[in-house]
Subunit: 411 residues, 2 copies
């Protein structure tokens, strides 16, 4: 037989170029995570694999600072974690309060609507934290709402909201909470039990520095009760917690879908590295490199869009100076210095640059390398730059800040 | 501050044991696929990454034997590919004909119902192919149905249905088709354009021998038209083809979700290996090793549940002999010989064993190793076994069948 489509034999093995990943994620993989990924796959019902899954749940509970039994990685990117929270906790006709101060709040609204529910939107300017008073007002105006959703760390702007206060307000109004911790987990404190958050999702390619494609999630007992009490069937088969639970529970291990083995090995190792470093040290490391980067960006005259106090150390958004060509500069950073930074999204497209310092990417050489590249590229584009000043400013911070050990290489 | 949950430091790096994967998937990873997985991750909008994605689409079109523009890997396991087909092509109130002859037809029905539509079920016995006449009858009885869904290769039984005939019937009744090619792709002919199939999904961990967690999909222009003409919004944000399209189209590359970079590297390499081997050779290799395994299983007195002619070479389901303890024997195969085989699902639980010979797992040493282990474990469990006879029978087949080159190691 002759095949209708012939094999494309001219395609070579893919080898990614070296990159310094300082965008909104993915961040650099730790070498041990890469090694973990390359191991042989085994069956998802193999007793050895099942033990690894139990360890994964324990490690995830540490990262989330929770005792929630239902803590596991969804087999899809962060958007799957988000959608899983909504399709399980929202029923058609529900009213859900969604706080929007960036792209991901907007995506939450989309999710609410696709569940056949109504989103009551609490709007805040992009770049600001969610205003707790506005949430309070919305809950008073809509006493029938039973669910509040907000983004803890808005990747599109670098703003961090006060999750503790927002969760407290929601609880006082008898609402459950869905919290987006995609960019915060392991970068800044995510304290699920202390906050009293009910459904929290994250992603692996940000401050965990693991391969993209998994979404760690955790659900409180209250959230599980709400899922159990649903009047309607969850609209997604793949994300239906009742089915997923049967696969992830230790007692009863039934087939749901084939687990993404290699990616889970990588997550196991990334979480192990986090436990070995210690969460407080990981938070301090992100803070330290943020301070150094900030000193350098200040020196270059680049202004943060987020007010001090609400800034995420792992996501630094600065205004693009007048007259600078956004795309040309990002392209030069990538082509000439192998530095990837993030562009602005939505209304901030062309207006900001986003410097991520996430997980294994949050290292001295990356801060210095990025600032050096910025100095040179901005100068080449006609900006007046005091060559070396940004780096010197960053160095000064790195020298004076208490040294935090770099990510441990073994536990 | 004192953390509420302390780090679990007693957890070591995970190293999977050696396994001979002859279950229903995952199959063994080719060494080059493992190497591909361990590479550094880069940004999903990086021009180099975007080029890799274009190559991936070309390679996938070869595997599916299609010219469909919309051919790409969904960022989730096969069940995501399945659900994506249904949520995009089905609207509430629709009537969908679903052919069920195993587990995955049942899952299709679940999907139809969760879309708010009605499933008209064409039932066939588990282990048999779908009966085209029953489909014809159902379409005559329900002339308002506009969609037919069936499983080409039923992983739960090892039965292959006649996709060409089923697609032809559907077309004659003005229906689009959704085809499950999870276990068939690269193992037996999947000829999307020749069949005239409209939405076909597969998975990476079967005959492609790639890491689990991705679902290759392809959609005909008719399917895209149907999605474009929808009256209602797709219920899933993550799986909404209109949004995913913007990310996977070459002209317009907008952010949808962070692509699972490492897994995509692995798929790129797995598909490259397939192109280098050639589809016809891959099909012949699966056939050859199936014939050898079958000769050995026959010798052991193990009967196939699927009638000859409808048997998938890559999934061999045999009846468990009376008096044999299913779980104990599978456990002994795994613990003593590192051989994983599959259990029966649903009504076939405890009644059958499933021997997968998929992708890189379909090799001589695996056929011989599995038969040797079966001989010893069955004998140890009291079955009268003519030691060595099964292996000899398999060897004879391997020697007489025209030798097909093993999977090429470089293109």
């Amino acid at each position: 037989m002759t095949l209708a489509v012939q094999p494309p034999l001219e395609i070579d093995t893919f080898h990614p170029p070296r990159r310094i990943l300082l965008g909104p994620g993915p961040s650099d993989l730790h070498p041990q995570v890469k090694s973990a990924l390359a191991q042989g796959v085994i069956g998802y019902l193999d007793p050895v694999f099942v033990s690894m899954m139990e360890e994964l749940k324990t490690l995830m509970r540490y990262a989330f600072q929770t005792k929630n039994a239902l803590t596991f990685p969804m087999s899809g990117p962060g958007s799957v974690g988000m959608e899983a929270c909504f399709v399980n906790l929202v029923e058609p006709g529900d009213k859900v309060i969604v706080c929007r101060n960036g792209v991901f709040g907007g995506r939450m609204i989309e999710n609410v609507e696709r569940c056949g529910a109504t989103a009551i939107v609490v709007e805040d300017e992009w770049g600001l934290a969610v205003d707790p008073q506005k949430l309070e007002d919305a809950l008073r105006a809509h006493p029938d709402a039973r669910l509040v959703a907000f983004v803890h760390a808005e990747t599109s702007t670098g703003a961090q909201s006060d999750a503790q206060t927002l969760c407290d307000i929601a609880r006082r109004h008898d609402c459950l909470t869905i919290v987006d911790a995609v960019t915060s987990l392991a970068g800044t404190p995510v304290l699920v039990d202390e906050w009293g958050a009910d459904a929290v999702y994250s992603a692996t390619q940000k401050c965990l520095s693991c391969t993209p494609g998994l979404s760690p999630v955790t659900f409180s007992d209250r959230a599980i009760e709400k899922v159990r009490a649903r009047q309607t069937r969850v609209q997604s088969w793949f994300m239906d917690l009742k089915l997923v639970l049967d696969y992830w529970s230790a007692s009863q291990r039934t087939y749901h879908h084939t687990a993404p083995g290699n990616s889970l090995y990588g997550l196991h190792e990334a979480l192990r590295l986090l436990a070995a470093e210690g969460l407080e040290h990981a938070w301090a490391r992100h803070r330290r490199h943020h301070e150094a980067l900030k000193a350098g960006l200040d020196q270059l005259g680049l202004e943060f869009i987020v007010p001090e106090g609400a800034r995420l150390p792992q996501m630094n958004a600065v205004r693009i100076p007048d007259g600078m060509d956004d795309k040309a500069i990002r392209r030069a950073l990538l082509d000439e210095y192998a530095v990837e930074i993030g562009a602005g999204l939505g209304p901030l497209a062309g207006k900001i640059w986003r410097f991520g310092l996430m997980g294994y990417s949050a290292r001295e050489e990356n801060v210095l390398g990025a600032l050096s590249a910025m100095e040179m590229v901005l100068a080449a584009n006609g900006m007046k730059v005091d060559q070396g000043a940004a780096i010197t400013a960053a160095q000064r911070v790195l020298a004076t800040h208490h040294h935090v050990p770099a990510s441990a290489t073994s536990a």
